[in-house]
Symmetry: C2
Subunit: 348 residues, 2 copies
Amino acid sequence: MSLNDRKIQILQAIINDYIETAEPVGSRTIAKKYNLGISSATIRNEMSDLEEMGFIMQPHASSGRIPSDLGYRLYVDHLMQKRELSNEEERYLQSLISRDINQIDYLMEETAKAISALTNYTTFISEPVGQRAKIKQIRLLPLDMVSILLVIVTEDNFMKNHVIKLGVVPEEERIFEVGFYLNRAFQGYALEQIDQTVIRRLQYELGEYKGLLIPIFKALEITMEAAEKVQVHMSGTKNILAFPEFSDISKAKSLFQTLEEKDVLVTLLEESKSNDLQILIGSENTVQSMKDCSVITATYKLSDDTRGTIGIVGPTRMDYSQVVSVLNGMVQNIERVLRNLTDNNKDG
Amino acid sequence: MSLNDRKIQILQAIINDYIETAEPVGSRTIAKKYNLGISSATIRNEMSDLEEMGFIMQPHASSGRIPSDLGYRLYVDHLMQKRELSNEEERYLQSLISRDINQIDYLMEETAKAISALTNYTTFISEPVGQRAKIKQIRLLPLDMVSILLVIVTEDNFMKNHVIKLGVVPEEERIFEVGFYLNRAFQGYALEQIDQTVIRRLQYELGEYKGLLIPIFKALEITMEAAEKVQVHMSGTKNILAFPEFSDISKAKSLFQTLEEKDVLVTLLEESKSNDLQILIGSENTVQSMKDCSVITATYKLSDDTRGTIGIVGPTRMDYSQVVSVLNGMVQNIERVLRNLTDNNKDG
DNA sequence: ATTAGCACTCGTAGCAAGTGAGTGCTAACA
DNA sequence: TGTTAGCACTCACTTGCTACGAGTGCTAAT
């Protein structure tokens, strides 16, 4: 029993129809709707074979067939054809590009919204995270009567400000001077590289201001941690409720629960970071509540090791072809916008 | 026909029972469960009166009664007794206080999570926003070979950094010098207060660096806009699905839709900012998809005009008493943590 | 004023019959 | 030998019916 052309045509018909209608597909439907030039009886025989091979299955004894995870896998790997973006979709993407986006988190938010609006699936996206952060600038500024401002910038332009409260604030000139020393000492180093020798030298050079080192190291820690923390944005969770496969509230609820746990999403996105495009179908997912879903992820790159990932969750009966084309378009889009953005303006 | 003591007892019984069970309450249930010393027939007569007065209603002809929005209103305004927080709840709040929280958004996130975990209702919370922002500090720092860093801090310590790309970066000393001029010129002013005279003087003083003024004004605009933008955090949306009143998926969906639109939430929170505690029951809500819900909001204050709001959405059959006590506890908590936080460290 | 009793209402659970979409099998056909 | 028509069978789903029970409103007795 081999997977001949006709079987593949039939499988394709079943998958297309099922993606569209969410109803089990019978032999007669295929005979009528898809002109394969064979009768429903023949289709029945072929379907019986396809079922034996594991590509389709029956939800109950006398019903039509639905694709199995294996069937979708075959479809995704070999049958699915690349779809071009429709005019409407193209316009949507364009409108996003042309708008004046000047902040990463805003870009992420808008991208997630656009994708979930286009596809009707739940979308989540992680901000680009690069290699282990090195210090590019560390500066002190006067702030007010009781505190000074510490600005820390990493090599990849992630930055964070910290207010350091002091009993007595030195005069402006002294603040800048101390800041200058600090910058000389820290510039170019990762936090781990700063050893006792450096610290001792600093303590000496700072003199009466060496007490500053404690809050400064704390601020550095916080900054570096934040620089390496993956931020996730999500949109379109409500769409889940529109799919008949989640009309069972308890199923919907457990998926919602999972989506509310950012850790799970971060892990999911991080794991797929090495692939440009990854499709996990039903049981291929490791998270229990997603065993009935498919997850498609696409990775965008800012540089070779600065990457982020977009993910989409939907029922296994998902319009894979559409999602893949939208994701591809969006990756290009996001890479372009990000390249502009990081060249001009980046803050965290 | 007056609202005598007995009627009130019966109404209270109906509301308590309905909040607990979500089932219409019959006269016999009340007679058995709540020892009011009267028979079910008497209760029936009183219920008939209560219905006529509009405090309760029947979902269909021969069923028990459920409270109407008016009934809940009476309950909330006059009958509900303040509940003390349970030990468990107290512990939850304490655990939040004691943890080392150093960022506003993290505090918001955690607070929302805690409240939704304690109450099982969906929680959203807005970050504290103060009066129209004045500039406290505006400074320039060297960043790298092609850009300098502009740091803007408002009076209430909201801050934002901007990268300004230049063809040729001046030497460090000149950057600080120009920054000094800028700071002198802008300090203490709101963006609107800066008029042509000031700008002309600046152009003169900056000399060859007057081209900087364009990106600086753009950065100022972005910063001030962001300073005044209300950030909303949300948690526990999934809980909605657990309530029988949302077992109708389409209802749940429309509520989800609303909750995904931040604008609506912001408006809602902003509108209730002037009240310490506000309860909107069912039809009292202006948003259509919330006409079946109750929304309770509590406002926390950092200073007289720096405020934020916590909101809770649930079915009208909500445990008002619990929610109010949790919110009260949380407002105190959040005010304490925020006071510490803004004294020591604040960034945006 | 209160209550016991009773007829009445109405949503819901359970059951039986009918319907239709779909299958598998067999025998005839090209 | 592959294809197809025909047929019996399966099974979810709908419809209509009945029985049940929780609950009400009304009336008459206390």
